[in-house]
């Protein structure tokens, strides 16, 4: 196309596609304009979210410009529309070109759709029906390509590959890992890593959806169903605070797979591997199949009636003997809004305000915000438009992979993404500032940034600042961070998991709040679990009831450090899902009555609980999750609950009925939903206040620093075997600064004994220059890292066998 665009209105042009006059933005490709207007052009390599290499040639169309036809058909994916252009997508010449391309593509493609997992949902199969010949003219041998092991999530059948390179471009442009390439040449081209290193991106599963043929398919789902026998149900992914939209595909009540559901405002057309493959946990052998009650040291399987009565009696006895104050509830931050609300109502009806969903929080000095839920004051989609972002204590790449994707897009656009963390991470974002400081220094570093902002803008700095940094002048790094935030028109300060678990987290939140206010940027918390905002709205926090009334209960940490007589647990595994696993196990062991609603059975749960109530998990129950920007996303149940499991809201309703509490006669979860709506009203994300500056609290001595690994954050992912077989899971490793390793005489692979809160664990060690001296990194949610003390907290470390 050499025709120059001559138009008076440079923003839009008028083109004619298949006889229809269409106004289109200048610079758009023909295929994008056609897609928008429902005109179908066949394609394999083109994808609206990826660059267009024009290498499959399937989208060839007839183009005419100024009455002169182009000498040959042009690829619609890289030909841009121009004023007066006439496009024919199905003219004789276009069709002939498309059919010719199809014939070439089918030369090397196996014709064995009946044994291919993609059969029935294959773009090549679909287009071959329309554009292919009924009989192949090709009689020579077809090429064969050896399969490569890309890891436990993606199955390969590379002989089927048609070299569209969507997977290569996705990993390059979206995932930022560039793990695959088009190796060799021509007929011998193979999509591969060449060196067998596998594909480990946190978004790797999306290549399965992108692959137009059966070359890359889902390994866990492989050969377990056919696309046409499955029913699709909309759902919401329950693993991070974005609430990515998903479709669950089900056959006769069994979830076979999870795929993304397009939602430009949240997950675009992607989902993380965690959201895609966690469904395997539904069918884990460790599902709690039936209600259990303990008598002495023996467990009995009982019917629901008996179990609920035992639970009600146990809780009633605790309250009768010790008062409501003796009761506490620990609720998963990923429980549904309805379950949180019912749990809070039950606990409060029994006379206790001790309920919390902020289970991994390390510092509660700042209490519960009165003006809004923890989350983003801006939008999720808005993260890709920021000019600057400061992430305080967080690694969104593993915590909220698709928030990280938005920030990566911002960085590619030229935005300055900065991080302040107690360890270095393997970012796929080119960070403008990567501040790695010892955990105990984080508040001081943040205070220095606040001072740098005050210095540059001439604003008065908060009086409390001196408590952290005396009269020290900010260093170059702090000045640079302040500069990026001040120079940006649109910036955000984001708090991540390591700020949540930080023993001086209240200080970090207060300082970040001041920083946001002084630089006029947004403040946001990328919260733990999938419904932290819902916890606030439903009143499942100690400081606030659903109707907005203030309350004063014990927070999640206080509930285990000042043990209660009775506990109600919902959706948690005590050794994994609390800031301080050791204290939680201890507190449960000494309680008179522990009622646990759980989807999964575990020795730790049996050690602590007295009544186990099996509840439904992903796909088996209905509910609402509120994401970080405050979207209420409701989903319905579509799969049959395993064993005797029941939806959590139903269990809570029956429990309340047996406890003879008023107003629990809900027939369906949407009744609860509407009631919460009516009680809670509209809410916005909390904005930090200038009041109540927390007093700096020194964090000293050897520190364990950790946060759940990507596939260790909740019971469902921990029971998903394919995710657990990936490189992101497995046995915990102690990462230690090289200078500390030398001081303690620790070499790579040595066993070290970690001691935290009286619990010892022997684990392999790895010196790493990503970890600052004075602390060691030990992720939670991995094999052997459960049941230790605080996620960030004092610990000792010694070489195994040395110095008892």
């Amino acid at each position: 196309m050499s025709a120059e665009v001559k138009t008076q209105a440079p923003e839009t042009v008028t083109v004619e596609i298949d006889g229809r006059a269409i106004e289109a933005p200048k610079g758009a490709s023909i295929i994008a304009v056609a897609d928008e207007h429902g005109i179908d052009i066949p394609r394999f390599c083109y994808h609206s979210k990826l660059s267009a290499p024009a290498n499959c040639r399937m989208c060839l169309v007839d183009v005419e410009m100024g009455g002169r036809p182009a000498p040959k058909p042009l690829p619609a994916c890289i030909t841009t529309v121009a004023d007066g252009m006439v496009v024919r997508t199905a003219s004789e010449r276009a069709l002939k070109a498309q059919k010719g391309v199809m014939e070439f593509l089918l030369i090397n493609h196996p014709l064995d759709c009946p044994i291919c997992d993609q059969g029935g949902e294959c773009e090549l199969q679909d287009l071959a029906l329309g554009y292919g010949r009924s009989v192949s003219r090709f009689v020579e041998r077809k090429r064969v390509v050896k399969d490569e092991n890309l890891g436990p999530l993606i199955a390969t059948e590379m002989t089927r590959c048609i070299h569209c390179t969507r997977c290569v471009r996705f990993l390059d442009e979206v995932a930022g890992t560039s793990e695959l390439g088009a190796m060799f040449r021509g007929e011998h081209t193979e999509i591969s890593t060449l060196v067998g290193s596998g594909v480990h991106s946190e978004l790797s599963g999306n290549v399965i959806d992108l692959c137009p043929v059966g070359a890359l398919t889902s390994r866990p789902y492989r050969f377990s169903a056919r696309s046409w026998e499955m029913l699709s149900h909309p759902g919401v992914a329950p693993h991070d605070c974005l609430g990515s939209n998903i479709d669950l595909h089900q056959v006769r009540g069994t979830v076979k797979r999870v795929v993304p559901r397009d939602n430009e405002a949240i997950n675009e057309c992607w989902i993380s591997d965690r959201d895609r493959f966690s469904y395997e946990g539904i069918y884990s052998a460790e599902r709690l199949a039936a209600p259990q009650i303990r008598e002495g040291d023996t467990w009995h399987t009982v019917d629901w009636q008996t179990a609920i009565e035992a639970a009600a009696n146990g809780l009633r006895d605790v309250v009768a003997q010790h008062g409501g104050d003796a009761l506490g509830a620990l609720v998963s931050p990923s429980a549904s809004l309805e379950e949180m609300y019912l749990t809070a109502r039950i606990v409060r009806a029994l006379g206790s305000d001790h309920i919390d969903t902020r289970l991994r929080r390390g510092d509660f000095r700042d209490g519960v915000a009165g003006d809004g839920f923890p989350g983003l004051t801006g939008s999720i989609a808005g993260l890709e438009a920021v000019d600057a972002a400061l992430i305080v204590g967080g690694y969104p790449r593993h915590e909220q992979p698709l928030a990280n994707h938005r920030l990566r897009k911002a960085a590619i656009r030229g935005g300055a993404i900065m991080a302040l963390n107690p360890r270095g991470f393997d970012w796929n974002i080119d960070l403008a500032v990567d501040a790695v400081v010892p955990a105990g220094e984080m508040a001081r570093t943040l205070a220095a940034v606040v001072r740098a902002v005050a210095g540059r803008t001439g604003q008065a700095e908060p009086e409390a600042l001196a408590g952290w940094i005396g009269d020290e002048a900010p260093d170059a790094q702090a000045t640079a961070m302040a500069g990026h935030l001040l120079d940006a028109d649109n910036a955000v300060v984001l708090m991540g998991g390591l700020a949540e678990a930080h023993p001086a987290g209240a200080e970090l939140r207060w300082l970040a709040g001041r920083l946001a206010a002084m630089t006029q940027t947004d403040y946001g918390e990328l919260t733990d679990g999938s419904n932290a905002a819902g916890g606030w709205i439903a009143g499942a926090v100690p400081g606030r009831r659903a109707d907005g009334q203030a309350a004063s209960g014990l927070d999640a940490r206080a509930m285990v450090t000042r043990p209660r007589r009775g506990y109600l647990l919902n959706g948690i595994e005590p050794e994994h899902d609390h800031f301080d696993g050791a204290a939680t196990i201890e507190a449960l062991a000494h309680a008179d009555c522990v009622v646990a609603m759980a989807a999964f059975d575990s020795p730790a749960l049996r050690a602590g609980a007295d009544v186990l109530l099996p509840v439904a998990t992903l796909g088996e129950t209905a509910g609402t999750l509120v994401n970080a920007e405050g979207q209420w996303q409701t989903f319905a149940g579509c799969a049959k609950p395993q064993g005797d499991a029941r939806p959590g809201w139903r269990v809570l309703r029956v429990l309340a009925n047996v406890l003879e509490l008023d107003g629990f006669n809900y027939q369906a979860p949407d009744e609860i939903h509407h009631e919460i709506r009516a009680v809670a009203g509209e809410a916005k994300a909390a904005t930090p206040t200038a009041d109540g500056a927390p007093t700096p609290q020194p964090v000293e001595g050897m520190l364990r620093v950790g946060w759940p690994a990507m596939f260790g954050g909740d019971p469902l992912v921990r029971h998903a075997p394919s995710l657990q077989a990936s490189v992101h899971a497995g046995e915990a490793v102690v990462e230690i600064a090289p200078e500390d390793a030398e001081r303690l005489g620790i070499a790579e692979g040595d066993s070290v004994v970690v001691e935290q809160a009286g619990v010892t664990r022997t684990l392999p060690a790895r010196p790493s220059d990503q970890v600052p001296a004075g602390s060691f990194w030990l992720a939670a949610g991995l094999v052997h890292s459960e049941g230790l003390g605080g996620l960030i907290g004092p610990a000792t470390l010694r070489v195994d066998g040395g110095g008892e």
Binding site: D172, E179, L180, G181, M183, T193, L194, V195
Partner: protein, 170 residues
């Protein structure tokens, strides 16, 4: 091709970095510009690694140019002049493209295969000669049939001439 006594198996030597820097100076100092230096950099590295490109050496090039390793592997596998598997001490490339084919390249290939006892794409058991597969036009059609041995062209080949050339290879 000269073979360094101890072929390098990892990292880039100072001399190699200096040579690659000379190439980098000819391209814009942008990520795409640096990518332009991949081919010359691979030549430099292959020359010092026994005529082929071990993975660690390709990774070193990727690291030096600031590219993901896969982008370097793609280039290394695309071009016939790079090898990513170990090769013999000498690489014999017989052109089989159209001019040479019309002038009897197929007979030449057959003769060489018989003489060395190996097929195209294989290396003699003593590790002396690798016969490269599918060598494309080397732009010396006037002297067809021709071949490239390491870094030298030989034209107007006959079986006798080839025997002499091969015998002289150590």
């Amino acid at each position: 091709m000269s073979h360094a006594e101890a072929a390098l198996t990892e990292g880039l030597s100072k001399a190699e970095q200096a040579e690659i820097d000379q190439w980098l100076a000819r391209f814009p100092d942008t990520p795409d510009g640096r990518r332009s230096a991949v081919i010359p950099a691979l030549h430099v590295v292959q020359h010092n690694s026994g005529g082929w490109l071990p993975r660690a050496r390709m990774d070193a090039v990727a690291d030096y140019l600031g590219l993901p390793p896969a982008r370097v592997y793609e280039v290394a596998t695309f071009y016939g002049m790079f090898d990513v598997e170990p090769v013999g001490r000498h690489k014999v490339n017989i052109c089989t493209n159209i001019s040479c084919m019309l002038r009897g390249a197929d007979d030449i290939v057959e003769h060489v295969e018989k003489r060395l006892g190996i097929s195209l794409g294989e290396t003699t058991p003593d590790g002396r000669i690798t016969l490269k597969r599918e060598e494309e036009c080397l732009a010396a059609c006037a002297g067809a049939p021709m071949m490239l041995v390491d870094e030298a062209y030989y034209t107007d080949l006959t079986p006798e001439k080839i025997d002499q050339i091969l015998d002289e290879l150590e």
